[in-house]
Amino acid sequence: MKRRNFLKACIIGGATISLGKTNKGWAAGSFEGYPDAMGVLTDTTRCIGCRSCEAACNKEQKLPEPETSFEDKSVFEHERRPDSKAYTVVNAYDKKQPGEPVYRKIQCNHCNEPACLTSCFVNAYTKTKEGAVIYNSKVCVGCRNCMIACPFNVPGYSYESVTNPIVKKCILCYDTRLKVGKPPACVDICPQEALTFGRRSDLIKLAHERIREYPDRYYDNVYGEKELGGTSWLYLSRTSFDKIGFDTTLGNEPIISNVKEFLGMVPMVLSIWPALFSGIHLLSKGKHDEHGHDTESTQEDR
């Protein structure tokens, strides 16, 4: 009877825990970000491709020296992506058009509901109330799930370190600047003010105001306002976003919405199944004891 009561309690307890978790999961799908979360608005119509932001990021985050200097404009010949040695890169798009190409800075977009955070099983990632998605490199085990999960292909991987393999990406200068209210280093250095720092909710208003005021200059959409549940980094463009390398097929549902039902089952599986199956195992073993078919081992134990 004791065993049966224990099992009952396990099942009931487990079910309440898992139900509670699932309800929370559903609520999380409509999370619109922390009210005072900061963000950055990139106005791609202002960027001149000077790569100052890349240099500033390199110095601020104490990253290794680049292959070629930040003066090198030949890097625009190929599309680059951020990696463990460069948390931000500027690419050139629309190069076939006459005149200057469109430059676009790429870095972590600091999602309201980050897929990297969802995918991380050691909870290395945190979305801070200031809006930054940061990670604890001490707990990171280097599984690279976040690299696969990130819809923007952002996290880089420090392959060079065998003993401490960790994922690296833009943290919105959280440790050195954002925490004390200062803008990230890239924003500070931008000569064109192509990057605007402020509260995310204010930046959305600002972006729409720019579109309203200069309808000829801007495509009528703010990338990152709704994409995947919204991102802290927002963008304005002259042309439609797919023309300058943005993925416009991501939809507005955060990644967690696609996996929350499955993830809601995980605590149930983890908490109930071991108890359930060990219970069944014990019960079946107990039966064997009662009928005296399996007494050898128990005798030896005694």
């Binding site: 020296e65 680049p66 200097s69 930040f70 003066e71 200062k182 924003v187 003010e193």
Partner: protein, 174 residues
């Protein structure tokens, strides 16, 4: 011969009206202004204000509604139609040198009545204003070092790297 008289008179009036507001408001204007005075990566440099006055003639082209001819832009005249020249006409008087500092952001959100929420910072306003006009006019420098030379710190900042390549911050010839 007498038929020329009104023409000459008209031309005189025109030239007077064109030069008068400028002469009145730019009397105390400095001939040169040191820009980027506290610059770390780029050296400070001298801006030839007199030359720009001579070539542009219209103060409000750069100084908006603070001096020179009253604004004509239909969007601006709604409020600034009768704006008299302001006491402060310098760029940094309105465009903050620290547009994203916690203090500036707090000030902005505290002032609920503020209309110009998207006012550019000093650095952005200078670069976009200067380079934008130089490109439009097809005259004047547009490259980084055409105006301000890289300082030693700036060279270390931008030229770090295993292979030094000159490009983005090099001088463009116009």
């Amino acid at each position: 011969m007498p038929s020329y008289k009104p023409l000459i008179f008209g031309a005189l009036l025109l030239s007077l009206s064109a030069s008068f507001p400028m002469a009145a408001s730019c009397l105390s204007a400095p001939d040169t202004i040191t820009l980027n005075a506290g610059g770390k990566l780029f050296e400070p440099f001298s801006f030839d204000h007199a030359k720009h006055i001579q070539e542009i003639k219209e103060c409000s082209d750069c100084h908006h509604h603070t001096t020179g001819t009253l604004v004509q832009n239909p969007k601006c005249v709604k409020c600034h139609q009768n704006s008299s020249p302001t006491a402060v006409v310098s760029c940094k008087g309105c465009h903050s040198a620290t547009p994203f500092s916690p203090e500036t952001l707090a000030e902005k959100s505290a002032e609920k009545q503020r209309f110009h929420l998207d006012k550019m910072g000093l650095k952005g306003a200078m670069h976009q204003g200067c380079i934008g006009c130089h490109e439009k006019q097809g005259a004047g420098p547009t490259g980084c070092q055409d105006c301000h030379q890289l300082s030693e710190a700036g060279k270390a900042f931008y030229y770090s790297g295993k292979v030094a390549v000159k490009g983005a911050h090099g001088a463009k010839k116009h």
